[in-house]
Point group: C3
Chain length 211, copies 3
């Protein structure tokens, strides 16, 4: 499982970029950039490691924190060059999701968990860092955006990894399948509006709809 | 302590219903329903188990996750039948509180904790799942609703359990007392407006109150 | 390291005061005061202890909870005497930050961590309790206030402790330096508007700025 540290590095770097971009929308100072970037980058994986009772990945390898800080600095000095920071956040977040979900799946597999916990850890690692970023910075959580696939992508990625493993693919290929499915679905949702049917209430009473 | 898994199941199922109802107010898709339902259902107990350094209850028994997902699916297909979803959330949340508090008390007792920690774990297990649900979904946390008993019910339930234990009642009866006190107080607050005196500032200065 | 419990006590007491003051702004009842005060007082240290895999400081010494509850009661009965509760929150929070950061640094040092983790634990212990308070109570997190030093103070305090240690000062003096630097910077920011350069976007497009 030499892939796991690599996936962790990649997801830390890309999530840190999204965190720093959100910090730039909130006009924080440079330490605030590093703080939000680190929270986003390590939030999901920290929660995963605490729940699996593993050593935290950034305590095992504190270079992760350096990567997050570096990403924050890069954004601090270059964010104004972007056409649309919000678009950049969306697409970087999609990339980060696509590496964080396999990272969560791999960690849970390495801890010898069963498939329900593997699925959950994929979703937690993928979605929770971004959720913390959005809750702390008062953005509408991407998790809750109506009519977009988000948690669903993480879920489908986890299912793809389990399916590939079940069909006998090597661990690395299964994680690749996981990343591919996650990113494809999320990109399709951003580009072409792919979505699941949303809950849409029938009017619950016969009163006129003026609420 | 055969009661503990049963209490955990019941609180997972009922908290999942409330989470899914909140998801329906936010018009999420079906995976979003399952996500919010699972967060609500497992949030308090997960925090309790992490703080007590126990194995997480849903890693020990992943069927819990199935229960939460099933409850989310049921709500996804039937929520429109409800007269008022908000009333349903309030009452289901009251039931879930009344089973989650004894679950927390029982877990802390089983871990050999002293009474202050037992009280806290009752409150954490009862209130934190709903708090996470409300923070993530941008609802006003029930914990903070003015003039309603909420944390107070969890606190009183914990005190009731400790008192019953102290008077020599068997563990099961103490938990029953805990659930009864918690639900009675919460129901009384919802139906009859029972409340504790709220902090109401005297005007802090002699300026006219036009702020 | 006889200082660590003392620092924990002091930060619990002062953070509890700020939590109770925020609860008074939300007009909660007395149990709500205790809940928010305890969350604020123990949030950062709990997160630190969970991440370092130590026994939680308030499970080791439940008197901490009594201190937080007492502080909440004091505020419940006296908050109306204050001229400006918001100013009191700001200054008490500055004091709490200045004791919580060395508490985090000391705990991480006692766990034998390297310097990046020591810095992080100082920031987590100092900033996270207040962040939880503000997220739960829907205040604008102090962490995010534009043009104020906050996380920066915690960071600088941690650097001061590491520097003092490196120059061979005894542990207690290093922690004193840490508290001094943290408080001085935060007080300077509140009194004289000290700040770091904030991210200020150059206009990203040539469209007229009417958004």
């Amino acid at each position: 499982m030499w892939l796991l540290p690599f996936l962790d590095y990649a997801s830390v770097a890309v999530f840190a970029l999204t965190g720093a971009l959100v910090a730039s929308r909130a006009q924080l100072d440079v330490v605030g950039f590093i703080f939000i970037a680190s929270l986003t980058a390590t939030g999901g994986g920290t929660l995963r490691d605490v729940m699996l009772d593993r050593d935290l990945f950034w305590i095992v390898d504190p270079m992760m924190l350096g990567v997050a800080a570096l990403a924050a600095l890069v954004v601090f000095f270059t964010a104004h060059l972007l056409e649309s920071r919000y678009r950049a956040i969306l697409w970087l977040d999609a990339c980060a999701l696509a590496v964080a979900v396999p990272a969560g799946v791999a960690a849970a597999t390495a801890s010898g968990m069963g498939w329900p916990v593997i699925l959950i850890m994929g979703m937690v690692t993928g979605c929770m860092g971004g959720l913390m970023r959005d809750v702390v910075c008062n953005e509408v959580p991407l998790v809750l955006k109506q009519g977009e696939l988000y948690v669903t992508c993480a879920f489908a990625g986890g299912v793809a990894a389990l399916g590939a493993e079940w069909f006998g693919l090597a661990g690395g290929l299964a994680l690749l399948a996981c990343a591919g499915v996650t990113f494809t679905l999320r990109a399709g949702s951003l580009l072409f509006g792919w979505r699941l049917p949303v809950y849409r209430p029938r009017p619950p009473r016969t009163l006129p709809p003026k609420r």
